[in-house]
Symmetry: C2
Subunit: 106 residues, 2 copies
């Protein structure tokens, strides 16, 4: 199995809220692309499961947000790794494309 997803072509932006594209889902991992207009955010959330996720900034910049008001600058090429059980959120400062990989795919 080999497949290619052109994230920059297959997902766009919306003034209403972030746009989500399911890139891949398998027993090994789930890969999701989120596109944010400047100012939009993925609200804080966490799941009580073992596992980890990565968030990679493909374009633009913003912040990764964590528990207790933690804020981590997020620029193109930055990769955040977090336990799934850890509260996490994303806020876009400019238009921003990120890729999230979740394993296992809870």
């Amino acid at each position: 199995m080999i497949k290619k997803v052109e994230v920059f072509n297959e997902n766009d932006f919306s003034e209403k809220q972030y746009k989500k594209l399911l890139v891949h889902d398998s027993p090994y991992f789930r890969v999701i692309n989120f596109n944010f207009k400047a100012g939009q955010e993925l609200p804080m959330h966490s799941h009580d499961f073992d596992g980890q996720l990565s968030i990679t900034v493909l374009e633009g910049r913003g912040e990764f947000l964590g528990a207790e008001n933690a804020s981590i600058k997020a620029l193109q090429g930055d990769v955040l790794i977090s336990d799934i059980s850890e509260p996490h959120a994303i806020r876009a400062e400019t238009d921003m494309r990120v890729l999230v990989t979740i394993s296992p795919p809870i």
Copy 2:
């Protein structure tokens, strides 16, 4: 556990061969950044294990190569998904940064 890796700052390029940065390794997945100068490549390989990998182009362009001379254009934002057991390779046309995620981390 939350950590950030600034892939664009923490890895560079070499005229000799591609440069590799281990971004993360856990029981869930391994994340590796490869930087290629134009013309460099990751040779064809595969492993006889269950599991999948993703290859995401962070910057630049090139080709994903597969069995039987398959060649798939790879631009910024493109994500290739492959079984670990499937032969795969990467060739850079321009200087190129990619992020590879392998699950499970064989």
